[in-house]
Amino acid sequence: MNFLNYDRAMDRSLEVNAMSTVEISLRLSGQLPETAVLNRELGAVPTQTRRRGEPVSKRRVQPVDLWLLELAKWDDDRPIEEIESSLQQVATQLAAMAKPLAMLDRTQCQADLYISTVREDDQGGLGLPAALIMAAGAAGLGLQFSILVMLDDVAEPTNVALDSLAVGV
């Protein structure tokens, strides 16, 4: 059973060319109105929804309500023009939802532009167009960046060695 919209079969595409990826989502979390109400007010169908307390795996239950809309996803092989075009579309999409998003009760929930990136390169980054930042601001979205670095070929000191250095200082 797939509880998280995580598609391991799709992920196998990484087998040939492992590369850095970026995903941008609109994420509402906390204590949320009913999904149908949110869908109607925001004029969008979420990619993923969860309700607090529902099982999300054999081991865990969902800690908060979740309404998530995936907005853009790319890997570093994608031409920059395509990424920029995609981000402009995201800006337009968010701008259209800004008013109802801004009206959500922030004492009950959190609304974020959530950017997740898994890095397999020792250089890189991303830029957001002004239109997207303005739309996020108009919608009252917080900005959350999650970065996971998975370099494969760099030897680093072990934790033990780092701890020893700290003690030495």
Binding site: R27, S146, A166
Partner: protein
């Protein structure tokens, strides 16, 4: 600032160490990274709200059950 950089480095090594511990191959290791990110997002965590070692171990077992 230096303390934070060291902490981040340890966080990264934690994912690596658990992947090692569980015997993940290169593909599994990357998929596990994607899985961690998916769970973090779905749980409503902030970008800097990282998993503990115990939580990552649980996630690794959960990942293997997918």
């Amino acid at each position: 600032m230096e303390r934070k950089r060291d902490a981040n480095r340890r966080d990264r090594q934690m994912v690596d160490a658990i992947a090692h511990e569980k015997g993940f191959d290169q593909l599994q290791r990357r998929q596990f990274g994607d899985y961690i990110e998916a769970v973090k997002r779905a749980e409503g965590r902030g970008g800097a709200d990282n998993f503990t070692r115990e939580e990552l171990l649980e996630l690794a077992d959960e990942f293997l059950e997918l």
